[in-house]
């Protein structure tokens, strides 16, 4: 059912955890629907790039793999907030060599959680920008 890439991210997820004094926290999904993803980020306040990112996920193989992949696409790349906002469900799914059609909604949530974390950071800062 799943590609090798998905199974790799599922079996060896990258960046699992929760940043304690996170600059931004984003949650997507809910337990009733069966997928919850929580992404925490640390932002370099000068350059406004993402310094660190971690995820926690309650969900299926695709949910875990897409959360892991989205953090891998961000971590260590010194992405600006704008660049990170450009990561979409499509790019996450492509990076994983595709997902079964029925699982595409899981990849939506990974990108959503990341965007929510960035928006949370901006809101805490009192920044009125929207980066969509």
């Amino acid at each position: 059912m799943y590609s090798e890439m998905v199974m790799d991210h599922f079996s060896n997820p990258r960046n699992v955890g929760e940043i304690e004094d996170a600059d931004g926290v984003g949650v997507a999904g809910n337990p009733v629907c069966g997928d919850v993803m929580k992404i925490t980020i640390k932002v370099d306040h000068e350059g406004e790039t993402i310094k660190d990112i971690k995820f926690k996920t309650f969900g299926c193989g695709a949910a875990i793999a897409t959360s892991s992949m989205v953090t891998e696409m961000v971590k260590g790349k010194a992405l600006t907030l704008e660049e990170a906002m450009k990561i979409t469900n499509k790019t996450v799914a492509e990076a994983l060599d595709g997902l079964p059609p029925i699982k595409m909604h899981c990849s939506n949530l990974a990108a959503d959680a990341l965007h929510a974390a960035i928006e949370d950071y901006l809101q805490k800062k009192g920044d009125q920008r929207t980066l969509k």
Partner: protein
């Protein structure tokens, strides 16, 4: 890696005696049972023998057994066959909210064709209340269809009580016996059942063959039209090899039933007890003892079912779940939902169904593997006791 199969409710491997019994009917004894020459009559004889064996399992007479392509066809045949045949008498059918989709979906179809269907609720352990059945019966009720035992949580329904009510009220009573035929003692006279569905591949027989028991005198129209096979009740050239295999599987199951029930119950109860002890925040779904001898259904909080199944698969273990992620319609199990189990608990459910080939070693291996998997997934999960919402 040795594969450990814990999904016997889904299907079972054929026993070697069954394969051996079937083998000649693929090539040497390939005749069409409706032909008059020796090879055809030989096939007919094999079908008759298979029919006797299947009938014995439920104490029916052989002429009351019709062979079908499986449990789904038997359910569809029973319900639509009785519905169309008795339409002038009435158009109301009573069933439950936890039936298999082979019953639910034919009922939904009939609702669009002028029939009314009452879907009875179940309690928190999956039991139907016979009083609810009695209260639901109206003057225009022509059929009650209630499964003997539920395939997901194993709950064994009070069929004898319900059958007695149905008989008293003069309403036909069908039970989907797909999970119980050959697994639990069934006497259709004692249970007051008019129709019963069975499927060969649930009891170490081949896929593609099943049976419908139809009590003599029940008014029913065929589901398949064509030739005169099965006493004009079910057209189609018979699946002789399949029927022979079904008969053999039924015979073996009947002979070994008592011992097998005892053996499975010990393994099942050990599995339930130790999962609940070894892993915190787990709960049993269904009744502790009024459940199928091999059925275990447990919800594990804070983790999701499909991710558990994938991890178990990597350790060589086959199981199933009531999680939305494992369903093609992305909704949690309708059975768990009908039992009032919240979605987030249903998503974390694991169904393990034991069979002939499972041993204590299998159970012990599973009990070593599951806690590690749960711990790993819980460490990854944003949900916990303090944070039921993240």
């Amino acid at each position: 890696m040795k594969r450990i199969y814990l999904d016997h409710a889904a299907t079972t491997p054929m026993r070697s005696e069954v394969v051996e019994a079937m083998w000649p009917y693929f090539r040497e004894k390939f005749g069409n049972a409706s032909t008059l020459y020796f090879d055809g009559q030989e096939a007919k004889g094999a079908i008759d023998t298979g029919r006797e064996k299947v009938a014995s399992v439920i104490n029916a007479t052989p002429s009351e057994i019709v062979f079908t392509s499986g449990g789904t066809e038997s359910d569809n045949f029973a319900i639509s066959g009785v519905a169309w045949a008795n339409q002038k008498r009435g158009n109301h059918i009573i069933t439950t909210s936890i039936e298999h989709h082979a019953v639910l979906n034919i009922c939904k179809f009939l609702e669009k064709r002028g029939f009314e269907v009452t879907y009875l609720p179940v309690d928190g352990q999956g039991f139907v209340d016979p009083a609810d059945v009695r209260n639901a019966i109206r003057k225009n009720t022509i059929l009650i269809s209630i499964m003997h035992a539920n395939n997901e949580v194993g709950t064994i329904e009070p069929i004898e009580e319900i059958g007695t009510i149905a008989k008293e009220k003069g309403v036909y009573f069908h039970t989907d016996g797909v999970q119980t035929f050959g697994h639990l003692p069934i006497d259709i006279t004692r249970l007051h059942v008019d129709l019963l569905s069975a499927s060969a591949h649930k009891l170490y027989g081949p896929k593609g063959v099943g049976a419908l028991y139809i009590r003599n005198g029940v008014k029913i129209v065929p589901f398949l039209y064509g030739g005169d096979q099965e006493n004009k009740r079910r057209a189609s050239t018979e699946n002789v090899a399949g029927i022979v295999g079904f008969g053999k599987a039924a015979e073996l199951a009947l002979n070994e039933m008592e011992e097998e029930i005892k053996r499975l119950i010990l393994l099942r109860d050990k599995l339930i007890k130790e999962i609940l002890e070894k892993i915190k925040y787990t709960r049993l779904n269904g009744h502790p003892t009024k459940r199928l001898p091999g059925n275990v259904n447990i919800s594990v909080e804070f983790v999701e079912g499909e991710s558990m199944l994938l991890q178990l698969d990597m350790k060589g273990i086959c199981a199933s779940s009531g999680s939305a992620c494992t369903s093609s319609i992305l909704e949690p199990s309708h059975v768990l939902t009908a039992m009032g189990i919240p979605a987030e608990v249903a998503h974390g459910s694991l169904r393990l169904t034991l069979g002939r080939d499972n041993t204590t070693e299998d159970i012990n291996y599973f009990l070593e593997v599951l806690p590690v998997i749960v711990e790993r997934l819980r460490a990854m999960s944003p949900l916990s006791l303090k944070k039921r919402l993240p």
